[in-house]
Assembly symmetry: D2
Homo-oligomer: 454 residues x 4
């Protein structure tokens, strides 16, 4: 369902294997900074708990850059009075760390430290929050991130420069690369392309409403990338058969998503639909969507980035009638941060997902009230929702109608600077399949990583 | 009690702060390889446990490069039938990982993979071991270590080249740097100095009996480094007062350790005693030990490496009467690996520590029998003992007499290639003090790490 | 909210304190039988698990006759390979034990053993259930219950004989006394009064649809007992003020519950509304409801059982126009056991609670399908619902309209012979208040229990 | 290894099955009182912990009258901030409850309440103890014990009256029946026989040094009961063969225990050795020990209580030369309660077990110092030791020499009024065997308990 993180074909980034392994150690640095804070929390509890933290309300977990199901729910601090305070906790995957989100949204070292300091690690029995700053952890966390804050410059097989920097979980965080990298790119290149993953209603919405706002920049043009296969799936074709030609299913899928472009207009954006060409796609399948796009008042193009690299993309770009121009850069946010939490969530759910209303569980409601009471009501909302449906139910494909979105709880990322309404089951720590991919890797005697495809 | 890991004064290694933070990521790579194996163990238990591992006898824990007391004893796999198998486990510090020991003892990639494959992660109910190879984890672990196996070359402030590579816990593992680094140094330099930390009876014994044997090399000369302050402490001076001059206490300490040189003879080694000069040492304190060394038939020199760098060391080297020569390199091991576990432990305890005998708890005895039965009886013994006393009781300073060494349990490091008799309380995961050092760090706006001394 | 279990005033049962403490040990016997089965489950897991039970799917918990919050969620089997298999479990209060329900529904020793044997303790990985019979626990459990199956005969302060036997939790079980006791009473007395607690839509529904069906008996007349205070509360008066006279609130409450009698007609029952007189009630408050009852076509009487004992009740009985006669005994069940689980739940929710529909969580739906697949679809439904509202939301007083009932999960009590659809938060283990009632008890030097009221 | 608790043969007590099942509910009452205190401890922690108890230093566990291995080590209080405070704890078997010991040693209701109030449930971070009285639990605990404090009178098959009252674990507590029962018996009978189980050096020592002291009574004569089979085992015969005649092994066993009678003299007691006759014993085996006893200056008799009841015992009694007379009642305690803990333990170990010295683990030493500091140094010592050897090593049979006794920890039973030095591995919660005895029980249709022997 998800590809690798280093592109592919003629646009693959180099050194691919290193990017996918430790790369420059950014994830390790994020893990270390995150876990240092966790160790300081438990150490504080152990040494008398001067801040009066309620050990049952510590919300700061630990992270590891590993799919490790058995660490999701754990009990720590066991072994008696020299070994810490027993409490329930767990590990998330590093990409789900708030430190990762902080790193991505920080605009320089001062801002990094400010955001780290605001991180809420838990609550006292009276409900007041305790922060990383209260624990004196900010300086050391920043020191551990001193290299990680610098963007990593790589290139594609063709030599196109690319920044690879930051990896926040796109379903529970804002999902885009660092503001630092985008700003560095804007300083050196005529055209900067950035990715907002996990579909328009998740990735793009968060890019506009959170990332652009904190970064102080705006896009000149929005490109919506789609694959013929995905359109067929949303048109009702079973997943196993999406590689087979089926113009009708594809057209159904496209029409069902026909309202999506109108969503772009909500942000005041020009929009191009780029068909991400795959070897299995037929010519007819490529022509149809372009025609349908025209009918919907959109520009539709075929992008052959995978097979032809920048030439393929360039050709797609040229075919665009009215190119986005820097002087036209700008966008209209979907909601006002100063609105109530309830309204902000309702706006996104209605305008982006097409929901008729938002429901709250008892816990969701309690969280909302507590966050507003504690002064976090003016933060933007970074809704955690499945990427497999426009609704919060992964089984509803196409363009579902007449559905409610249910907010189960609302988490706080005070450091990153947003709150996270949770809809549906969101996993912060994946598990491995029965035969893990790891069992297919090897290292040759010459030190080269080998991978044997199934 | 322990200094930093990057030397000091004129011999400080550069870039000091980077060496002490993430450096080249070797520790992160070791953590990742270690934790990948752990995740694969629990994943195997979760997906039907085809290998029949007894979940209560999984010995492979997880590691993190953090002093995190609350992770010593934990319960994992909680949350119901989709979340793994509940079991007791814990985290060690990365330096205590067997993968670290494997990395240090591996002589090339093939040997690395062989050792990784031999790692025992747990046992079946019938007592037979299950290895990393059985789980198909070797290739991926090796891939994660592909950069970490390469020695890291740094230099001192004076430009003296130095390899910094590997960091196995010296009290529970063999405590010396990688065989790869030593061999690389031997290929390029006339004289290679390597360190075997945590006192002669721990560091040197393991260096000779384990490291040299696996590496196939031998030293031409052994230098025993001592500080005036340590001698005073072993001579009965309270720790708080060791900076004050006290020739008598120092002499007492020296004489009590007077048998140590004889221990060198047990390995067939020439030996020099180097007094590691500190600013607080007085001239008289420096002269005395040299004289006493002479009386004991040893060469005693003052090494001013800290204040004068290579010049200080060179002067000390020159004063040595009969320099070690490569053609004279060689040593006599203390015991024969083919001897019984009982005899091997008894030999080290008697000859190195001066114990009158070795006692076993019920568990220690059971472990010994099981290891011999399972075919691990011919491995060398890497005894885990406190570094604060020649005995296994940290309170016995000086040269204790008439003491027993008690073996509480014997752990297996089949991948590293040794067994670990545990004497006394050995912590594999340190805790933070009430005010952690971390709270003294900061990152300047220019990206420099700042440290405020107390 | 709940009174003691031994009546009060002129109808208090003797020996009151003994009934409320250990009485004849029935609860202890139930606890012992329940916990023996639990010990045998874990012992079976420990000794090789020949039945192949999935340790994460053991549903049989332990019980204790104590409000002990800290035992709700626990982890057992810790301590290594000689100490059992680690797993998540917990304690319920003894009244919530399925063994208690079995004891109450068993019609003789053979039936007791049959029901005990059917108890499902957990599931294999393939989803098949494992029973108490599979574990060979039935005989010993029955032996432990050998005295507990015999009804306990006590008397009121006036000498009226009364059986006190069995105490199943009325919100998660069927809530009425043992079939054995009812049958013994029917054999000796002209008129037998039995109680079906926790309001008509819970207690009476379960009495008719489960208890009468298993017992093979039926009531000649149904008496609905109400207090003036409860009517006022349902009429909108705050709980703290219900002791103050307020005829209007009472009338509102009565009218809102005006449909309830029609519910009786659903079971084909004659019905009398008995106003349970309290000292704080005013005469006017007593007259009104009788008048309103008449208007609704019901007989309303004032029962002064508390202050006058059997005389008070007798007077109420006399005033009844058409007394229930044994020859008219009988009732129409609300649903057919052979109907689908979905329909049975929907019928009760619609007809008894007044819900417009039944919603299922993902888990509730999965449970329903699995129970039907496993052959438990023909069991009656013993819905667990709050007793504080006709709906599943404790905050909705009076006669709520337009509400859904949400089934969160469905538990199986195969031994008792019903399934338990859980709606809302149902606690099987209460907690103690900040100042527990226990702190008010004492034992005099003469061995008498003393209780000091706050 | 251990028989039932209701005697056997002609001396079996009636109703045997009821005595072995719930009897009069004393064990249930002890469990309830014990667990009420536990619930109040955790409730106190949950509701703000006004007493400042360190949750990691709560020593009060819970009890259940069941062999339930999986409850030995558990974690309680899980589930979040409404569910108590997470902490490590466990269950002991009811016989190991300090409340049981309190019940046995209490001399009336006032004393019962005083002792209950003194029970230490845990410690504050400053090391000061917190008691049941501090928690306000004493009155309710006493109320729950109001019937249990009354001795239970039963009779043997012959009609001999017998009190069955109290059942403290003989290896970790004092092991004799209640002082209340003994005093009741002394008030009504000419001769009272009481049992001090688990061998002379455990049962008798504690009876003299603890029970008699608290009860204010003393025996007129001490009878040491031995079986021919046990003598053969201590004489070196394997357990499987002790039913076969072997006069030599028996004689060896007897002579090795020859010093035991001298131990009686240490208490100033007359002593008779009674050979507890078994059907498999041969005549020659019975004659020999009597002769050897004579040689050792003791009276040896054969007691046929099993086969002949009181007649068998009477015959043995008659053969005694100088019967114990009430006017000669009295004894010399082994140690003075006012002596130091160290001396008291050393005296018992030396005089009773024959140890050369007492060793302490680090924890044992720490416990000793803390108990003395906290004012518990004047309590008698109730040493927990295996009953399978005179030493603390179950494998040393016969009369071991030259052994140390190692004190691993010292527990406090401030309510019972003694401290418990733990030597060796003492289990407070047994486990079930692979095929539990429970699987052999059944209940007939007539309500009779059936037991099928293997």
């Amino acid at each position: 369902m998800k590809g690798g993180g280093a592109g592919g074909g003629a646009s693959e980034m180099l050194p691919m294997m290193d990017i996918n392994l430790h790369f420059n150690g950014d994830f390790h640095a994020v893990s270390s900074a995150h876990n240092l804070l966790a160790a300081m929390v438990d150490n504080h509890l152990h040494h008398g708990n001067a801040l009066g933290i309620d050990s049952r309300r510590v919300t700061w977990k630990r992270v590891v850059d590993m799919n490790d199901r058995a660490l999701r729910d754990i009990i720590i601090g066991l072994g008696g009075r020299t070994e810490g305070i027993p409490r329930e906790s767990g590990f998330d995957i590093t990409a789900a760390s708030e430190v990762m989100a902080v790193l991505c949204l920080a605009d320089g070292i001062q801002d990094l430290k400010t955001r780290l300091g605001r991180i809420v690690v838990g609550y006292r029995t009276d409900g007041t929050p305790v922060t990383a700053k209260d624990l004196g952890a900010v300086g050391a966390m920043a020191a551990l991130l001193k290299e990680a804050v610098k963007p990593n410059l790589v290139q594609t097989t063709e030599g196109v420069p690319a920044f690879v920097h930051g990896g926040p979980f796109a379903n529970i965080a804002h999902g885009t690369n660092t503001i630092n990298a985008t700003k560095a790119a804007l300083a050196y290149a005529d055209i900067v392309v950035t990715e907002a993953g996990f579909a328009f209603e998740l990735g793009a919405e968060k890019f506009f409403d959170i990332n652009c706002q904190y970064g102080g920049f705006a896009p000149a043009c929005t490109v919506l990338v789609a694959t013929i296969r995905a359109l067929k799936m949303h048109g009702g074709k079973p997943l196993a058969e999406v590689s087979k030609p089926d113009v009708e299913a594809m057209t159904r899928g496209l029409l069902q998503h026909g309202e999506a472009p109108r969503e772009h207009h909500k942000f005041g954006q020009d929009c191009v639909v780029a068909i991400n060409r795959f070897p299995t796609d037929t010519a007819k399948e490529e022509v149809e969507p372009q025609m349908h796009c025209e009918a919907l008042g959109l520009k539709g193009v075929v992008a052959e980035t995978f097979s032809e690299g920048r030439q393929g993309l360039h050709r797609a770009g040229r075919s665009r009638a009215r190119p986005g121009r820097p002087d036209r850069a700008g966008f209209t946010p979907l909601y006002d941060w100063n609105d109530s939490i309830e309204n902000k969530i309702a706006t996104v759910a209605r305008e982006m997902y097409g929901a008729v209303a938002v429901d709250y569980t008892a816990r969701g409601k309690r969280d909302r009230l507590q966050l507003e009471k504690a002064g976090f009501g003016k933060l933007p909302v970074c809704i955690a929702k499945t990427q497999q449906s426009l609704s919060d139910n992964p089984a509803l494909l196409g363009r579902p109608k007449d559905f409610l979105v249910t907010v189960r709880e609302i988490q706080l990322a005070a450091g990153a600077g947003f709150i996270i309404p949770i809809t549906g089951e969101i996993l912060r720590m994946p598990g491995l399949p029965k035969v893990p991919m790891a069992s297919r890797f090897d290292l040759s005697d010459e030190g080269e990583v080998l991978f044997s495809r199934p």
